[in-house]
């Protein structure tokens, strides 16, 4: 290979750069004719020499020392750990375990007070509005969050592509608030609905004692409806007396305290939701709980029961004093538990606070579970946002939702 040609070639770019270094700084002096000076006109230089400004040193404050607090420095630290129950606990025995802890008798289906209200009232363009709410929550909203990883158990080697869309927690909460807004249309007909209050993420709960051990039950539900007057009791006093014969379930050899973690951080007081005991519209009506993670149906039933029990106990302790055991009047409250497509309708009636013995009167819970408002069919492989199908809209489910909302405001025969 001959290198002489390439070595002897002059580099034109280098030469141009060297020229430009000189040429760019070439200055043309202002030439003013002498006749102008003779007239006596003074000139001032428009481009005076720049004086160097003093640089003021910028004061950068040192980084704030904000170390993470240790466990014992936290605000709600207590030396004695307590059993806790919140929305992330998954009890092994599910509804059976919750029934033992709260001394309740479970009944399947809706109570008569709610069941009579189904189909009694209707809203103009009801089904179209609900279907629009479903599409708004699932498709039309502009959220583009990263979706969780999918797993196909039949094909474990399959890798799904990353997808962006609306998260489960946003999807379910959006649907609940839209449906509540549709239900509020009937406020012109029933004056009680206008006096109600709606709150979001409001903490309710209490500290419950069972077999000389304390459990801290607390929950901040997605939405909570507060009524101006308490709900009528769902079961008659004669039927309540007949619950003496009911026997609580047996879960031997498992203890009812299984899967309840011991925690040092807790607040040792009851939360009714309101600081002022004489405020208007402060009776608990319905709480709307939404899933943010996948859970089994038995976990959902247990959560709904425990939170309703804790809310009713907190309300009764405020009303009748902290050491109340036998209630003069039962307290009822309701719950709607959703994961965005399925609905569980739960009604609870607190008859006693005495859970030391399994004998005597029991509390009662009605559970109507697995009501599918619509079927959400995911595609087998990918493109979730486009290919997901929403089929089999069931109009009967919203009528149940509306009946739960109207209970207490509409007089039943």
């Amino acid at each position: 290979m001959r290198l002489t040609i390439s070595l002897q070639r002059t580099s034109m770019t280098w030469l141009k750069k060297q020229l430009w270094k000189v040429k760019k700084n070439y200055k043309v002096e202002n030439v003013i004719p002498m006749a102008v000076y003779e007239k006596g006109i003074n000139f001032e230089n428009p481009t005076p020499n720049k004086t160097k400004t003093k640089r003021v040193p910028i004061h950068i404050p040192p980084p704030l020392s904000n170390p993470r607090k240790t466990l014992k420095e936290q605000k709600y630290y207590n030396e004695e750990p307590m059993l806790t129950f919140n929305q992330s606990t998954k009890m092994m025995e599910g509804l059976k375990q919750a029934c033992i802890l709260t001394k309740t008798m479970p009944i399947e289906g809706l109570p008569d007070s709610v069941h009579d209200l189904i189909g009694k009232e209707s809203i103009p363009y009801q089904d179209e509005l609900v279907q629009r709410a479903i599409m708004q929550a699932n498709v039309w909203h502009t959220d583009m969050d990263k979706m969780p990883k999918r797993i196909n158990k039949q094909k474990p080697g399959w890798r799904f592509k990353a997808e962006w869309g609306i998260k489960l927690e946003n999807r379910s909460s959006m649907l609940v608030w839209d449906l509540l807004r549709i239900c509020g249309v009937l406020g012109g007909k029933y004056s009680d609905l206008t006096l109600r209050r709606l709150t979001k993420n409001q903490l309710t709960g209490c500290i419950h004692t069972f077999e000389n051990r304390q459990i801290n039950i607390s929950n901040a539900s997605e939405a909570q409806v507060w009524a101006p007057r308490p709900l009528p009791q769902a079961m008659n006093t004669e039927d309540v007396d007949s619950t003496v014969t009911h026997q609580l379930p047996d879960i031997f050899p498992v203890s009812p305290f299984i899967d309840l973690p011991l925690v040092h951080l807790y607040e040792n007081k009851t939360h009714t939701g309101w600081s002022n005991p004489k405020a208007d519209s402060r009776f608990p009506h319905t709480m709307y709980i939404t899933d943010n993670k996948w859970a089994k149906p038995e976990h959902k039933d247990a959560r709904a029961l425990m939170f309703l029990f804790a809310q009713a106990v907190a309300h009764s302790k405020e009303k009748y004093g902290m050491n109340i055991r036998q209630l003069p009047e039962p307290i009822t409250n309701q719950c709607v538990y959703t994961d965005g497509a399925k609905f569980n309708f739960v009604t609870f009636q607190l008859n006693t606070l005495d859970t030391s013995n399994p004998d005597g009167i029991k509390n009662v819970v009605w559970i109507d579970r697995d009501n599918e408002l619509y079927d959400r069919q995911l595609p087998f492989t990918q493109m979730m946002t486009r290919r997901t199908k929403y089929l089999d809209y069931d109009s009967a489910i919203f009528q149940k939702f509306l009946a739960m909302y109207l209970s207490g405001a509409v007089l039943t025969q």
Binding site: V254, S255, I258
Partner: protein
């Protein structure tokens, strides 16, 4: 199941050497200061093997290692623990086993192999919560609970959710009626029962017949000793206080066929070289006399005194 503390002790001994091995290398005369037996025949590979510490094989040193995870734990958990991929390397960073690497990630679950009652008379009663697939073994696990405590054990053939199982350590005068899933001392069981998770020494934890779809059989009892046929058709002689579970271990569902080469890579097995392969069972079996019976009289002696080469 070795306890976490026991595992830590084993792992700390990795940097040490035991005199159990007779190291055979003539060039080892430089180690004259340390007391090492030397003999005539030698090879470099033998020396390397001898330098290895006496590590329990149940540590899973081949594909994945959970030594760091277990060392940080100080109590039993049901939570699946993360492991790091060892790729056939030992704690010294060199290849110990060839042909291992890659594959799907696996989590480690602490399995409790010790099953004993509350007292010598009172049995421990437990309820089966779920039946779980474990990627680290061919058997299937059962999550059982009693009181507020949960643990993993190895599931038997027909175990399902909601079953109640017992684990006792009492030997009655008459033999008990065996139920699948229960565990008893071998002295309490009738002859010809099929057992799994068999202990070699009392209180040690089940060691034999733990793989999927495997079992042993109790053949006879002689003077407080029990004779069992283990899955390799060999007979062993153990104490009657050794605990075993009644029944056969569960096998996982689905096919075991490896249809293509890529499926082996999912499991973390790398391709062999094309030159020479070890013959497997499909090439037939050589007819030999049955092996002699082994008696387990006394437990393993404690490891010998340890010498450190580095100061």
């Amino acid at each position: 199941m070795a306890t976490p503390a026991k595992l830590c002790n084993i792992l700390r001994g990795i940097t040490r050497l035991s005199l159990d091995y007779s190291i055979t290398l003539s060039s080892l005369n430089s180690f004259a200061g340390s007391q090492i037996h030397t003999s005539a025949a030698c090879s470099a590979s033998k020396f390397k093997r001898a330098m290895r510490p006496n590590v329990d094989t149940s540590l899973g040193m081949g594909r994945t290692r959970y030594d760091k995870v277990v060392e940080s734990m100080d109590k039993y958990t049901v939570r699946p623990l993360k492991m790091h991929n060892g790729a056939g390397r030992g704690p010294d960073g060199r290849i110990w086993t060839h042909g291992i690497g890659g594959g799907a990630k696996r989590n480690f679950r602490m399995v409790d192999f010790v099953r004993k009652g509350i007292n010598e008379t009172e049995p421990l009663v437990e309820k089966v919560d779920t039946i779980i697939y474990d990627p680290n073994r061919s058997a299937i696990l059962a999550l059982v609970a009693s009181g507020t405590h949960k643990r993993y054990i190895i599931a038997t053939e027909n175990m399902k959710k909601g079953d109640i199982i017992k684990s006792s350590s009492h030997i009655p005068r008459m033999a008990v009626k065996p139920r699948e899933g229960d565990s008893h001392p071998l002295g309490a069981l009738p002859i010809n029962t099929i057992v799994c998770c068999i202990e070699l020494f009392p209180g040690q934890g089940g060691i034999l017949a733990r793989a999927g779809n495997s079992s042993g059989q109790l053949i006879r009892k002689v003077d407080g000793r029990c004779i069992i046929k283990i899955p390799s058709k060999r007979e062993i002689n153990v104490s009657e206080h050794c605990v075993a579970t009644v029944g056969r271990t569960m096998l996982k569902e689905g096919r075991d066929v490896i249809g293509k080469a890529g499926r082996n890579r999912w499991l973390g097995i790398r391709p062999q070289s094309g030159l020479w392969h070890r013959k497997t069972g499909r090439f037939g079996r050589k007819l030999r006399a049955p092996p002699a019976m082994v008696t387990y009289n006394k437990p393993k002696p404690p490891p010998p005194t340890i010498y450190q080469f580095s100061s």
